[in-house]
Amino acid sequence: MLNKAIKLIKMSADEDILRPKPNEVNPENSPYPAKFINLVDGSKMVVRQITREETKKVIPIFYDIVKINKDFYDLVGARILGELLAYVQYRVQDEYVLLGQVHDTGEVLGLVNGYLSFNDPKIGISYHTMTFKRGLRVGAHLFVAKMEHHLDYLQNDEVKIVAESHIGFRRWMEELRLEENFDFEHPLGGVPSYYLTRKNWESYVKSERCFGTENRPIPEEYLKTVRENILLPEDVTYQITGTPKDEFLKGF
C-alpha cells in the first residue's frame, strides 16, 4: 500500500513543489558513518543511517507502539510513525534515520531521527529517540549519535531539541545540561525548546557522552549482517512494558 502511494505521488505533476530541495550539505551527501558501541550485556550495537527502503521495513513496528500508553510511547510512536512516513515519501527537509542494531543478529534496539532547517542550514532539528529494548542505555547512546551527526557531519552549529516524556527531559535536558532556547518554536510544538550548541558539544558532551567513534570503520561483516537482517522484536509491547501484547491491549 505504501509503495502504491509513493508511486501515485511520483506521478503527480505537483511533486516537484511538494518535495523539499536538499540543503547543500545534507544526509544524502554527508551520511552518518556507521560505528559500533559496547552495551552493558556485552553485545555491540551498530549505529548507522538507514535508507528509505530500509526505513519501510522498520515502520510496521510503530503500528504496535502507538498502542502502548506507557511513558509516552503512544504519543512519541505516533509522531515517529508520521515522520518516517514523511521521510519515505519525501515530505521533510533533509530528514535522516539512524538505527541501532545488534552487530551479529541485526536485532533492532532503537531509532533516532531528525532533519535540517531549510531557513538556516546551520540549524539541525532533533525529532525523536525511541528505544525498543530497555535497560541497555540504548537511547542515551543513540541520542548522542544523533547530536554527533548534526554537529560533526551535517555541519550544523546547533541542534534544537524538545522532550515529550519525563524520561527524555531528564536524559537530554538535565543530564546533557542543554541550554534553554524558549524563543524558538520547535516544530514538535507546545513545549519549550532547548538546544545543544557547538560550544557545549565540543567542550563536554562529545568527550563525556559520545562513544564508539574509535570503532570506525566498522567491520564489513557487521554491516552486512545488519543490512541483511533488520530484525524487529517479535513482541515490542512485551519488550517495552514487560507485558505480552495481547494482555496489554485488553480494553485498549
Binding site: 558501541i37 559496547n38 552493558v40 556485552g42 535497560g135 541497555l136 542505555r137 548522542v144 557522552r209 562513544f211
Partner: protein, 395 residues
Amino acid sequence: MRDVAIIGAGIGSRWGKYSGSLIEMMAKASLSAIDDAGTDEIDAVFVANMGAGRINNQTALGSALIDYLNLFPAVGASIENGPASGATAARIGYMAIASGVHDVVMITGGEKMRVAPGPVVTDFVATMAHPEAEYIHGITFPSLGAFLARLYFEKYGVTSEDLARVAIKNHQNGLKNPHAHIQQKITMEGILTSREAKLNNPMIADPLHLYDMCPVSDGSASLILCSMDKVQEFERTPIIKFAGTGQGMDTMAVHEREDPTFLKAVKIASDQAFKMAGLTREDIDLAEIHDAFEILELAELESAGFYERGKSHLSIREGETELLGKFPVNTSGGLKARGHPVGATGVAQLCELVWQLRGEAGERQVPNDPKHGYAVNFGGFGNNVVSTILSRITG
C-alpha cells in the same frame, strides 16, 4: 515452644512495575502461597510493608488483605521494620505459632514503590537514617553504601571490579528467575572496562556505579507457616523447618559505630539463628544476602561469619558464590536482580530458600541436594537485622 514449618511459598507476578493496586499485588502472592500450601484455613496474617502509608496512601494492610481475600475469621496486622520488615514479619509469625497462639500464619510482604518519582523514593528510604545526625544533613542510602564501599576499598583492597563481579553473578542468577525484576545479562566490559561503561554504568555515589546498587521495584511475596505438629495434615513435602531466627541491633547513625565495616547487628542476628538451629556456618548450603548495594553482599557474608573479615571479595574472584560454586549466594538474583520492594524482600528471600531446599528452583536450582539455607534481611543501614535459617527435614 513448638517447632514451625513452612508449607507454602509464593510470588504472584514478576517484580518490576505493577500496574494494579498494592493489595491486589499482595493478594496474588498470597494466593500463590495458599495454592502451594493447599490450605486457606489461616489463623493470622502478618503483612510486611514499609511505606504504603506514605507512598500509596494506604495503611492497615493486614486488615485490607484479609478483607480482599475473605480470609475471615483470620486476624491480622501490619509489620514495619524498614527493609527488614519481611523477615521481621516471618519471625513474628514464627513466634505466634511457636508460642501456641496460632497454628497457621500467612506472611505476605509487599511494596509498590514505582508510583513515586526517583527522588521521592530516595527520600522515603532515607527516612530510615538517624533523623538528626544523618537525614537532615542530606544523607541518602546510596551515599551510606558509598561510604562503606570506600572504607572497604581502603581497608581491605576491595575494588570496583569486585563489586561488578557480584553484580554480574546476581544478574546471571536473575536471568534464571522468572520473578526477577531485572532479567538482563551484564558483562565486565559493558559495565566497567570499556570506554562506553562511563555512560552504560554511570557513577551514582562515588565509588558506587548504577550497577553496584539494586533497582526500585514493585513486588510481593508470601509464605504460609504452620505448627510442626499440624504439618502432616497438609501433605506438603518435603517439610521445611523454620530452624533458626535471630535479630540484632546497632546504632542508627553509622558514624557512631566502632568499625563501620563490621556489621555488628548481622553478627548478633546470625549467631542467634545458628544457636537456635544447632548448626554451624559449614552446614549452610546456600544463602540469600541483602545486597541493596553490592558491597553489602561482601560485608554481610563476613559479619555473618561465612568469611574472614576483609576476605569475602576473594571468594567472588574465585567464583565460590556463583550458582554452581562451593557456596551459592543470592541464587534468586538477590536484591540486585530480583529487585527490592522493601517490605517484600525478606519474605522473598525465604521463598527462594524454600524452593531451593525442596529442589523446586528450576533452572537456578543449586546441585547436591541442599539441606540448610541462610538469609539475612538488613534493616536501616544495618541497625536492625534479622537472620533466618531454614532446613529440610524430610524428603
